[in-house]
């Protein structure tokens, strides 16, 4: 796994409340790199989060809007965060409900910027 990918994910993972992060190929929905807890199925998370972001992009396009720069999906037990990155990648993180979303967003955007 490329060192810059690992470093980018580790910085995101250090934010309070972040359970793990991974890099996903946006078009294929395949895992590129991961820093997740063992109980999280990285393959399923990658495929489903890439599918979600692709649908949101299409929805935004049909509505005449720009593609989303940050996706924040809130569930009862936690959150899914996603940020598009260069080379058709996505930075995806899963977080506890009380995670610091603002800081996580900053770190994810910075990680995406460093991947370019």
């Amino acid at each position: 796994m490329s060192a810059r990918y690992v470093e980018a994910l580790e910085r995101v993972g250090r934010v309070r409340g972040i359970r793990g992060a991974l890099l996903v190929h946006a078009e294929d929905g395949l895992v590129v790199a991961e820093a997740l807890l063992e109980e999280v199925d990285a393959r399923a998370l990658a495929a489903l989060s890439a599918g979600l972001v692709a649908r949101l992009r299409r929805s935004a396009g049909h509505a005449g809007l720009r593609p989303p720069a940050f996706v924040h999906l809130r569930g009862e037990g936690g959150m899914l965060l996603a940020v598009p990155a260069p080379d058709d990648l996505l930075v995806v993180a899963i977080a506890d409900s009380d995670a610091n979303v603002g800081l996580a967003r900053l770190e994810m955007l910075e990680a995406a910027g460093r991947l370019g």
Binding site: V24, H25, E27, D28, G29, L30, R43, A44, A46, A47, L48, A50, G51, A54
Partner: protein, 153 residues
């Protein structure tokens, strides 16, 4: 969607709904079709089944030559359409799934829900019946019965 074995219908229906696949063909390793979705001509089904079974046999032989375990799946990614070919074990023997998908879904989603379908089929499969002797006079009748089930004719 058409199925030869009724217990395949529910897992296949779920796979189609979740994966967004366009065409699906389930077959045995000898190329005998078990279920299909999206094909309109029996000739296409028979050709695709024969080719899918042949490719799977080739990759499994390659794996054997390389001293590797079986390959899990084979993906051809085109610009407008992708092909996914995966084999899995069932109580009725080893089966193959051939899936064509477009840009509305992804290989990750297809693979994820294909594995789920394979598990559900393995769970739903009734125990295999004792193999009956294949007689020449029955072969054509059984082949036609399968084609009628797959194409409703």
């Amino acid at each position: 969607m058409r199925v030869i074995e009724p217990w395949v219908a529910a897992p296949l229906r779920t796979f189609l709904a979740e994966s967004g696949a366009r065409l699906v063909l389930l077959m045995t390793t000898s190329g005998q079709v078990v279920a299909q979705h999206g094909f309109t001509r029996s000739l296409d089904v028979m050709s695709a089944a024969a080719l899918g079974a042949g490719i799977t046999a080739s990759t499994e032989e390659l794996a054997r030559i390389l001293g590797a375990p079986r390959f899990g799946a084979l993906v051809h990614q085109g610009t407008r359409q992708g092909l996914f070919l995966g084999a899995f074990d069932t109580p009725r023997g080893r089966w193959i799934g051939l899936v064509a998908f477009g840009p509305e879904t992804s290989v990750g989603l297809v693979q994820l829900f294909f594995d789920q379908m394979a598990s559900e089929i393995a769970e739903a499969a009734p125990p295999a019946a004792a193999p009956a002797q294949v007689l020449a006079e029955n072969f054509e009748h059984e082949l036609n019965a399968s084609l009628r089930a797959l194409f409703g004719r």
